[in-house]
Symmetry: C2
Subunit: 473 residues, 2 copies
Amino acid sequence: MNELEKLFNRIVQRVNINLRELNFDVNPFAIELIPLDQMSKFYAFYGITPDHPPELHFEHSAIAGSYFLGKSRVRNSLLYKSDIRGDELKHKDQTISFKNLTLTLTKDEIIDIEDSALIKTLVHNCSHDPETLEKFFIKNTLAMDYSNIHGSPSDGCFLAPYATVDLTTMRDCVIGAYSYIQAGEISHLNVDPGTIWVNSPGNFNFFYKYPLTLLDRYVSLSPDKVPWGILIDFIEERKVEFLRVFDVVNLEAIESIPKTSSLDRYAVVLPNIKIADNVLVSQRAYIENSTLGQGANAQENCFIINSHLEAYNVTAHGAKIIEAELGSGTFVGFNSFLCGKKEGRLKIGAGCVIMPHTIIDIEQALEIPANQLVWGLVRDKEDLAKNSIALEKMSGIESSFSQGEMHFEGNGALFVKAFKERIHHILEANGAFFADGKNAGHAQKNQKLSLNTIKPFQFGPMEGMYPNIRILP
Amino acid sequence: MNELEKLFNRIVQRVNINLRELNFDVNPFAIELIPLDQMSKFYAFYGITPDHPPELHFEHSAIAGSYFLGKSRVRNSLLYKSDIRGDELKHKDQTISFKNLTLTLTKDEIIDIEDSALIKTLVHNCSHDPETLEKFFIKNTLAMDYSNIHGSPSDGCFLAPYATVDLTTMRDCVIGAYSYIQAGEISHLNVDPGTIWVNSPGNFNFFYKYPLTLLDRYVSLSPDKVPWGILIDFIEERKVEFLRVFDVVNLEAIESIPKTSSLDRYAVVLPNIKIADNVLVSQRAYIENSTLGQGANAQENCFIINSHLEAYNVTAHGAKIIEAELGSGTFVGFNSFLCGKKEGRLKIGAGCVIMPHTIIDIEQALEIPANQLVWGLVRDKEDLAKNSIALEKMSGIESSFSQGEMHFEGNGALFVKAFKERIHHILEANGAFFADGKNAGHAQKNQKLSLNTIKPFQFGPMEGMYPNIRILP
């Protein structure tokens, strides 16, 4: 057995030890998870900007195809085509308010990945846990394809494909396929597939669960085979387009990108696109025959195809928008799948909030009025009526409210406010409001990115493993 | 003026200050030297092997297209497509004998490049100066295209195109185009172009000077234009073949390479080639329609075209072999240009020593008998008679000897012995004698090389400059 296999087996054991109380065995899922023979074929890469000088430490790990930005450390881990984006990590002496407490960071925050396997996983943002301000840890964790670990320290967890954990510290949890969890702190939970749960204790609690028989078409996981479903196929079909951008050292610059916008070196851009000012297109984003209006941002692993985005749109990590028109200020959350058809396009009015992990998959044209909250599975007008509510109406809820499979408790106004503030923050951080040299965000700052590569050992017992290496400014 | 221009001007000033006593101004040569607008287009790269874990430090420098292996530091310098090969640096606690003294290294040796510009320069081996065992320094030095700084610490020097300084510490010197100097220690010398000088004080002194009118055709330098001549054109014509290997991330492996041999990732290999066991093809080597016999090595920047090399051949850094048959154990020194013709091939007998910087440029077939020493310009049989001697005869010389433009003083046997021992050392270091898992050299060890890249800032005042970065194991 070579070092890579030993490493992977060791990680699986560590995750299983943590999940023993849930009686969950990751082994059957793990076995098909990583193409160990492919690990030596992909380089890892890291970005350097004047804002984020490199401070990276890789030790006894395989990090094929993965990207790093900002301060991070990877030990005894296996990362495959994951994005570790530390560009929003907190800094030494920064203060964080939490209720009536003010905490000061004693050192710069670091993303610290240990004894974990992350497959096509996005790790972003910073630790939102006031107990661990300086360390965004990911330990004893196995995360599968297109999962998002967003502001969420993790110890002893398994994330199924397309699972997102957002602003939540998790310990010894299983997060089912296509589940979205934003709950502050969770422990020893086995979350069913297709669970959408936004919980702010004392303020609000939003809960929706996909009917499993309907979700199965989109993403499925069983112990005896690799993940399958429409969402998996969708990406597989477009894989070839990514080959070119990763295989060539220098791509030709696209002249039509405004100076205030940035198009990542590892994004796929197919004809014909129009990009307005202050737009951010992140790496592994895929844009085809679409318009991105002023201040729009297309985040990692998102797909925008045959669509028109008016302005100040957020297409969050992993979201897909096909044959659609989006009004100004619409937000499309993590891993959403908005699939209009050529003969039946999807129109979304200005100011709508499409909740993370929403599937809109229509056969006939559908129009969503402005300022709606939309969640869950929407295939037609009837589904829409069941799975949406006007934001104004939502704001009026004071105790509880149920509609279809969605259940809400608490203060609707706080829920809407929290979403709106977060969307504003995302736009701001991404540089959407850049003007007169002020309010620069990722769209402007990322233009200065230099991308460096690291390659694995090519044969022998260390094949596919990477050299131990520290990179410092 | 951006940082890159400032840096270059500063280096030129430093070199000029050192050369003020020679009354030599590098400015006119420098002005055309570096395509400053190209510097942002090329990545730098470094190799990592288990034998040479990375320890690199780049500071306020531009290092476009340059390669690094082993411990090196680059400060306030501009390197363009240079190879800095520290794989033969000395180690802590290693002992070095020098006459009746034994010196012990207090730390690992480092290549330390400061306030210098190196253009397509090869830096290799280790400091051969017993006064500076732990530091192979290159300071206040400007080296032009295809010069070699080989085991030669340098302070305040200018090397014209195709100049080689070998096992020699130099201070405040100008080395003319196509000159080869191996003289232990030199200072305040202005060496004419085309000087071949091998001096071992008290043992031997070999001196040859190319007639300038004849050398001009091959390589010329004047203050008012870029270098020109057959040797420059030869490389320009083949430049396009190198583009592909540097522009693509993964090249297809060539199956026919034996497991005991290595073909560098950045070598150019065109049909049809045959490579035997224990062969080393180094980076930026160019092999076309040729055979490399057992234990042959093709070093950096060498070209081997339509030729057959029998076995245990050394094609040293920058040597070119075209339409030729080389017998077993032939040595072709630095920057030699052996140019047979399709209808008039060059045959070199076994055991010949082709001195560094030899030009054999024939119109009609020419055969060199076995075990000859050959130097200088050879265009036909008459030139060969003048510019060669049997090694046996050379070994018999006890005081002095002149032939054509060559003058020799001292002990011929020591001269021949020094060459033969060095050739044996080169073959050994390169792994030519590898058998049964023993005597591994670069040919075997370099197979484990991982190649990582570093990219420069792409725009703004720092365009073309590289981030300050330290890379540690």
